[in-house]
Amino acid sequence: MNKKVKHGTLLTVIFTLLSLLYLYPIILVFINSFKKKVYISKAPFEIPTGKMYVGLENYIRGIKQTRLIQAFGWSLFITILSVAVIILCCSMCAWYICRVKTKFTKILYMLCLFAMIVPFQMEMFTLSKIANMLHMGNPWGLVVIYLGFGAGLSVFMFTGFMKSIPLEIEEAAMIDGCTPIQTFFRIVLPIAKPTCVTVTILQAMWIWNDYLLPSLVLDQRKYKTVPMAVQYLKGGYGSVDMGAMMGTLVLAIVPIIIFYLFCQRYIIEGVVAGAVKG
């Protein structure tokens, strides 16, 4: 028994050190965000003291150069609206696929499976041109594209779950006079809540962090998302303002970590549930 306890303590110590090591890259960026920009690449591992310390200057420059506040706003807008639309439309579509057995629904389901393995590069050029032609280079258009692109995984996960809902419940509701729409919103969707959570988490993680799709589709002069704002600092081939970069990185990371600490249980469960079905 005694040996086992010691063993456990040793592991705890090792893992504590490992965790600190794991957090180190982020801590390093945080430390450097208070350093004068010339010292960041010259002495990245030193604590900013004396003449190296610049206070919040890097943050202010970062926010100004990238217009980070707007980028946050757009990222939030696009992520929340896209996820909401995906949940609503894909769950409805999935239920239809489950309950109406025709050749069409079968093909649609197969196409959704197919969409999950197609890499984005295959669609990249043509999608951005089509979006351009249809004047979808704004956040609203992007939401439609995210619905189309996210439909594969979401429909697949919803159908996987809805197949297991006993038909009798829905039939009873219909006999009692519910229209299909009422049946769906009052019976099916509440039962499918766990899948909604899973899909929300997987899609939100993807959409919030997605760089390539919005950078190709959105009109960059008017709209930027957070990853686009970070990449914007890199610019063309000129030298990068490392100070502004550090400030922007910290500001991009901190809200996510706070959000994560509050919802980590759901996030981790969502990932597990998503993996088991995927």
Binding site: T12, L28, V29, F120, F125, V271
Partner: protein, 280 residues
């Protein structure tokens, strides 16, 4: 009931169908067609048969990126899964602070690839500066830099999946094996690993496709430097589209090949590992 629902087709299916057509189907079909054409925008396409594909064969950078990506994927699939499985085994041993460790290891997954790329660029360039080198000094540094970055990001994700797999193994099974005199190695080899085979299937699939499709991290960490030597497939395709005028058709042909590679890998991998799963 089927009939009643069918009448509501426009409400239930049409929104998704339209978006799916715009966002996925049309670009895909058009993409396949355009890979046989010469064009600069979609409207001026001229059919030229297979010459885009022929051009790829002579494109040394593409072949290099293909090789680079394949090697990278093999290394990351192995390392990520081994580490993730080992950490998951240790974290299911009821040690103190398990939840905190799990939280920490998973965290990088919430931060996007672009941001992670620049975070690690600072750290790795800082370390390499002691040896008067940078990440873009040679493709070796870029390669291992990307491997470390991917390990750091994905071990936590895969660990979560392995933990749930390990926790689902019935306790009686392990007890029975122990009573029969199985030692720790045998227990791992004949009970734990076969029982978590579904998790292994999922994790290899995820790490495989993540490795092959890697873009953001590559763009942010090395941007392909030096001289395209650390450029992976996705980035190579991107620069063929947007870095060289007149090469759009070739880019699209590369994308088709990329798609076929990813598709074939997904199919083979699925066949291979599901056949090893234990029926419960």
């Amino acid at each position: 009931m089927q009939k009643a629902i069918k009448r509501y087709f426009p409400v239930f299916v049409l929104p998704t169908l339209i978006a799916f057509t715009i966002g996925f189907l049309a670009p895909f079909v058009l993409g396949v067609y355009l890979s046989f054409c010469k064009f600069t925008t979609v409207t001026d396409a001229k059919f030229i048969g297979l010459s885009n594909y022929a051009k790829i064969l002579g494109d040394g950078d593409f072949l290099h990126s293909l090789w680079f990506t394949a090697l990278f994927t093999i290394v990351t699939v192995l390392l990520i899964n081994i580490f993730a499985f080992a950490v998951a085994m240790l974290l299911t041993k009821n040690i103190k602070g398990t939840n905190i460790f799990r939280t920490v290891f998973f965290m990088p997954n919430l931060i996007g690839g672009i941001v992670l790329g620049y975070v690690w660029q600072l750290l790795l360039n800082g370390i390499l500066a002691h040896f008067q080198k940078t990440l873009t000094y040679s493709s070796k540094y870029g390669f291992w830099g990307l491997v470390i970055l991917m390990l750091w990001q994905q071990v936590g994700y895969m660990m979560i999946i392995y933990i749930s797999g390990i926790q689902n193994i019935p306790g009686e099974l392990i007890e029975a094996a122990q009573i029969d005199g199985a030692n720790k190695v045998q227990l791992l080899r004949y009970v734990t690993i076969p029982m978590v085979m579904p998790s292994i299937t999922i994790c290899t699939f995820l790490t495989l496709t993540n490795g092959f499709k890697l873009f953001d991290q590559n763009l942010a960490l090395t941007n392909g430097g030096p001289d395209k030597m650390s450029e992976m497939l996705a980035l190579n395709i991107y620069y063929t589209f947007y870095g060289r005028t007149g090469w759009e058709g070739v880019g699209q042909a590369k994308a088709v090949i990329f798609f076929i590679i990813v598709g074939v890998i997904a199919l083979i991998q699925n066949k291979l590992t599901t056949s090893k799963e234990v029926q419960q």
